[in-house]
Each structure stands twice: as structure tokens, then as C-alpha cells.
């Protein structure tokens, strides 16, 4: 699938196994986190848009970017350990400062066959 192509044949899943394959080795927990903020212009745009109660596109983008970056960091870690799949992936989010998003992605790096 597309996801595994982007990540260089690394299988990502949030189930605790890889269907149709067998886990042969465990490499432990891998994690990636990122804190991102948008520039002031986007913040102002978001507060204006918040007057109409619609989608805040700037913040959706921010969330998307943070997720992608955190996942990439996790993938780099998993590859370093020689894994070809990351299972049991979880997303955890929190807010640290106003207009900033923190996303923490973690999972178990494994080798499947």
C-alpha cells in the first residue's frame, strides 16, 4: 500500500500483529515526537475564522504536519534497529503552549516474515 511505499517497505499498523505474517524478532519501543507552531499570520487567520465556527484549516495543516514529522522520526528509529514493521502504533497529543501542537507517536518495532 501507499503508506508502506513511502516509508520504504516498512509496515505500519496499529494492530498488535501483522496479518498474514509472523513476527520473528522484537526490537522494543520506538517513538517520535514533535512540537510545532504556525506563524503569527496563520494564528490570526485562525482566530478570524473562529468567528464563523468553521474548520480552522491552518490548524488542521499544523496537526497534519506534526503527525507526519513525528511518524517519520519513529520510522527512522525503527529502521536504525533493523525492523521492517512497526506494530501497535498509538498517537498521543497534548497542548503545551497556545497555538502549538505536540504529537507523540509510539509503537513496537518488529521484524516480520
Amino acid at each position: 500500500m501507499e503508506t508502506s511505499q513511502i516509508t520504504g517497505k516498512l509496515i505500519l499498523t496499529n494492530i498488535d500483529r501483522v496479518p498474514g505474517k509472523e513476527i520473528v524478532e522484537h526490537y522494543g519501543l520506538v517513538a517520535g515526537s514533535t512540537i510545532r507552531a504556525k506563524h503569527v499570520g496563520k494564528d490570526i487567520m485562525a482566530s478570524i475564522k473562529n468567528f464563523f465556527g468553521g474548520e480552522l484549516t491552518g490548524y488542521t495543516e499544523l496537526l497534519n504536519e506534526s503527525r507526519v514529522e513525528a511518524t517519520e522520526r519513529m520510522i527512522v528509529q525503527a529502521k536504525k534497529r533493523g525492523a521492517n514493521a512497526v506494530i501497535n502504533i498509538r498517537f498521543s497529543t497534548s497542548s503545551i503552549a497556545q497555538g502549538a501542537a505536540e504529537i507523540y507517536v509510539y509503537g513496537t518495532a518488529v521484524k516480520v516474515e
Binding site: P19, G54, Q98
Partner: protein, 166 residues
């Protein structure tokens, strides 16, 4: 007699002016917010009908009868704000406590939109179903100020499964 009439007219006008300043803008924002909300809900319902075929489930069981061709993570995220009317009402309700029903609509919108985006992602990957579906709700702007910001952020994610065509 004319004095009392003038007094009554004065009182009525001043009450009217106060109402116009306080309730007027609220009513305006209520209408504006309602308009965009209804538009979005109509759009959501339309898309939900289109994507009814993609099953998503919070359980992690994969059909053992069929062979799995590929799997991959799919996500959908959305940030939804709320209009000043909702925020004002919410801050008023906050004083007395109780159910803040004005914030139920934005939450519903955000959740359904996030699920739809996740399904769209799954559709792009030609997946048959999404298993182990999870949802995370949070807030970028912490709502510690007196007036709640009412910004909802939702990430919906799961594992897309594509079965081999037999």
C-alpha cells in the same frame, strides 16, 4: 399623564437599546454559525452516504477466511472552531454548571469529519476495511481563559486492510 407616558416610552427605548447591543450581536452570530454548521452537516451526510461501503471497526480482528494483501496506517484529522454565540453561552452555562449543549454540535462535526477523512485516505489506498479504529481528541489552545475557545481537534486513525482478490 404625559410625564408617565414619556417615562414608559423612555424605559421601553432604553431596554430596547440594551437588548440591541447585547442580544443583537449574539443573534447575528447565532445565525452565522448556524448557517455554516448546517452547510457542513449537509456535506458530511452526503459524503457519509457515499462511503458507507468502507467498514471501520474498533476491534482488531481481520477476516481469517481471506488473504490479506497489504496493510497500512490511515489517518484523518480536523480542527473545528465555534462561533462567538456558542462561546458566550458556554461561558454563561459554566457559571451555573450543567450540560453545555452548544458544544455538542462542533464535537459531532469534528468527529464525523475526521472519520470521513480517514475513510477517504483508506479509499485512496484501495482498502476494503479499516480495523482497530481509534480516535484522539485534544485542544491546541488550552481553554484556561474565562471564555472557552471551543476549538476541537480530532485525529481518527486505524489500520487499512486490503484483501487479495480471489
Amino acid at each position: 399623564m404625559e410625564d408617565t407616558l414619556g417615562l414608559i416610552i423612555g424605559i421601553v427605548f432604553s431596554i430596547g437599546a440594551v437588548l440591541l447591543v447585547t442580544v443583537g450581536p449574539l443573534y447575528f452570530w447565532y445565525k452565522v454559525g448556524k448557517h455554516f454548521e448546517n452547510k457542513h452537516f449537509a456535506d458530511i451526510i452526503e459524503r457519509e452516504k457515499k462511503m458507507i461501503n468502507i467498514a471501520f471497526t474498533p476491534s482488531d480482528t481481520v477476516d481469517p477466511e481471506r488473504q490479506v494483501e497489504a496493510i497500512g496506517m490511515v489517518t484523518g484529522q480536523v480542527v473545528i472552531g465555534s462561533d462567538p454565540f456558542k462561546r458566550k453561552i458556554a461561558s454563561l452555562v459554566n457559571l451555573v454548571g450543567g450540560r453545555i449543549s452548544v458544544f455538542e454540535a462542533p464535537l459531532d462535526r469534528a468527529r464525523r469529519e475526521a472519520i470521513l477523512r480517514m475513510k477517504e485516505h483508506a479509499l485512496n489506498l484501495k482498502a476494503d476495511e479499516v480495523v482497530n479504529f481509534r480516535m484522539e481528541t485534544m485542544s491546541i489552545c488550552g481553554g484556561k481563559s474565562a471564555e472557552p475557545l471551543g476549538i476541537v481537534e480530532v485525529i481518527a486513525y486505524g489500520t487499512a486492510i486490503r484483501y487479495a482478490k480471489s
